[in-house]
């Protein structure tokens, strides 16, 4: 087999492979390390961390759906200080590349999180999860509000300085994804993460009530892949120079290639890891083989390939 260069970049961060965990789908990394070496993939995107420890939503927190699942975890986590103290050192020890995902309830909280991370060394990038309710604006999700999205990213950019790449993670539950993407890029995002889960609900036919403790939940898995591919394609068409971390239902090398051809520079894998602890490594290997079969020598050659005219 010919050698394929799988390396990629997101902003000024370089990764030897384009495969990442999806935020919230790898906990602190320790649990997956039981099944493979964390340093063998592109990198770990950590669970979105908030200022304070959170216990999250009541159970049940999940429902399986056709080719997908709903979750309503509610950002359970230890809070930024414990995270920096415990999780970062572990990941560094494993020689994993780290993208830290942050989440806040106010514009200010995002900036504060960024300030805490500024002095932590060994982080490759920050993913800003703006699919959170904005407590200052009737709980309206930041990512659904162009102005609030911008302000969050602007605040993080100012705090963090010019070094660390900022990846803004957007929600697909919006009328005009491209305009939200443009807004956060103007506000200083170096890259975009697409897509977060799609809002859904399952009603339990036994109780005749919403199944999840949190009533609604986020839909993920192969069911949403066509929505994710469309989102990545649309945004890459509008801003081909902005790197995208694509995700949503990727569970094979074929799926990863589809997302990359749509315009992603890297892919995150979430739900697939629940069904298969070694999914990320399998996907990485399959992707490499597929590229080789098709005669490509580097990943870069296929990023956004689907946008080329038919004749090429």
């Amino acid at each position: 087999m010919s050698v394929v260069d799988l390396s990629t970049t997101l902003g000024n961060a370089w990764f030897p492979a384009p495969t990442f965990t999806a935020s919230g789908c790898a906990s602190s990394g320790r649990e997956l390390a039981q099944f493979f070496n964390l340093r063998d993939m592109g990198g770990v995107v950590t669970k979105s961390v908030m200022m304070k420890a959170r216990t999250g939503r009541p159970t049940p927190r999940m429902a399986e759906t056709p080719s997908g699942m709903l979750n309503s975890i509610g950002l359970q986590g230890p809070g930024i200080d414990a995270f920096i103290a415990k999780d970062i050192p572990y990941l560094l020890e494993q020689k994993a590349r780290i993208i830290v995902s942050i989440a806040g309830e106010t514009v200010e909280e995002y900036s504060t999180l960024a300030r805490k991370l500024r002095s932590v060394s060994g982080i490759s990038a920050i993913e800003v999860n703006i699919s959170c309710p904005n407590v200052e604006n009737r709980g309206l999700v930041f990512a659904c509000d162009p102005e609030a999205s911008r302000r969050v990213i602007d605040g993080v950019r100012r705090t963090i300085g010019g070094e660390l790449p900022i990846i803004a993670k957007l929600s697909p539950d919006v009328t005009d994804l491209v305009s939200i993407a443009r807004g956060v890029v103007e506000a200083g995002a170096d890259a975009l993460a697409l897509i977060n889960t799609v809002l859904g609900m399952v009603i339990n036919i036994d109780t005749m009530r919403p199944h999840l403790g949190g009533k609604t939940g986020g839909l993920s898995g192969p069911a949403i892949r066509p929505i994710a591919v469309r989102a990545v394609y649309q945004v890459h068409a509008a801003m081909p120079q902005i790197p995208i971390l694509g995700m949503g239902g990727i569970s094979s090398g074929r799926d990863a290639l589809e997302m990359i051809a749509a315009g992603a520079s890297g892919v995150s894998i979430g739900t697939a890891s629940f069904g298969n602890p070694t999914a990320i490594m399998t996907i990485q290997n399959e992707l490499k083989e597929l590229l080789a079969e098709k005669g490509f020598t580097s990943l870069r050659q296929v990023i956004g390939y689907a946008h080329r005219p038919e004749s090429e």
Binding site: G24, C25, A26, S27, R30, E31, L32, Q34, F35, K47, T55, G56, R57, P58, T59, P60, R61, M62, E64, P66, S67, G68, M69, N71, I73, Q76, G213, G221, P222, S251, T271, A272, S273, F274, G275, N276, P277, T278
Partner: protein, 283 residues
């Protein structure tokens, strides 16, 4: 309180392709024997497995968890494990249709095992429905430690009582309760516990079954010196600690309650630390 040896988690877990050795109907359950080779040697009572269901083109994206009922090493099949599966929804029904020779994708062994007493004491095992499955393997282990093992099994009806002949050898006494009175005594399995604790001088109760049963046992043991080792069953998306769906409110020594993952900080937990009244509620 008695001391328990706790095992550390998932150190030996591996993802393997494992073939079905046999599939037999037992009452309303299916007894599946699955070849897991050398991994049988590292499975402990209370561990569980996570199995892919539905085959290659399945719309079911999540694994299903099953308690390991027993493991054994035989000359013909090498190491095998036994599962007792209730055909409930689409995933378990599919599994119950897998016959000899079918190959399954299994992650095994997972989770925290039952803690084993450091000294020979009197223990009571309480099982509800298929929850009895892991208790027979546990009984054998406890026996070899010199514990005296008594057992209570309960279910709604006779066909949901799982109590294999061989299993009974390891227990000193076995009482069965069914809600409809179709086997053993009519009533709930939790009814005689208070009395038995006193009569038999029970040091540890091991329980596995519906959450309502576990919580009822906790109420009985609360304030006593009896240790309650219960195997909980929460919906699990991943089974390996990465999704945070399977959490339960559990207090630590100083009373701080946090949401622990029942897949990795369980399924076996100390019942007195679980905040039963807060299960399914926001903290």
């Amino acid at each position: 309180m008695v001391g328990l040896i706790m095992s550390s988690i998932n150190k030996n877990a591996a993802q393997i392709r494992a073939s079905v050795v046999s599939n037999k109907r037992v009452g309303q359950y299916h007894q599946l024997i699955i070849n897991i080779g050398d991994l049988a040697g590292v499975c402990k009572p209370g561990n569980f497995v996570a199995i892919n269901v539905g085959g290659e083109n399945s719309r079911m994206v999540l694994r299903r968890a099953f308690a390991i009922s027993r493991v054994s090493v035989s000359a013909t099949f090498g190491g095998t494990m036994e599962l007792i599966v209730a055909p409930h929804g689409q995933g378990s029904k599919w599994l119950c249709q897998q016959n000899e020779g079918a190959v399954l994708d299994v992650v095994v062994p997972l989770g925290k095992a039952f803690g084993i007493p450091t000294e020979p004491v009197q223990v009571l095992l309480v099982g509800g429905g298929y929850g009895s499955a892991p208790l027979f393997g546990l009984a054998e282990t406890l026996n070899t430690r010199g514990c005296r093992v008594d057992m209570l099994l309960g279910a709604s009806t006779a066909s949901k009582i799982y109590a294999p002949m061989e299993g009974k050898r390891a227990v000193n006494s076995l009482r069965i309760y069914t809600e409809d009175g179709s086997m053993g005594q009519r009533g709930r399995v939790t009814e005689p516990i208070s009395e038995l604790i006193k009569d038999l001088n029970i040091a540890v109760i091991y329980s596995c079954g519906p959450m309502a049963m576990l919580s009822a046992i906790d109420e009985i043991t609360r304030g006593t010196d009896v240790v309650h080792q219960c195997a909980v069953e929460e919906s699990m998306a991943c089974g390996i600690g990465i999704c945070m769906t399977c959490v339960l409110p559990v207090a630590d020594e100083s009373g701080n309650v946090s949401m622990l993952r029942s897949c990795i900080d369980g399924p076996v937990m100390d019942g007195s630390f679980v905040q039963w009244d807060k299960v399914g509620k926001a903290l």
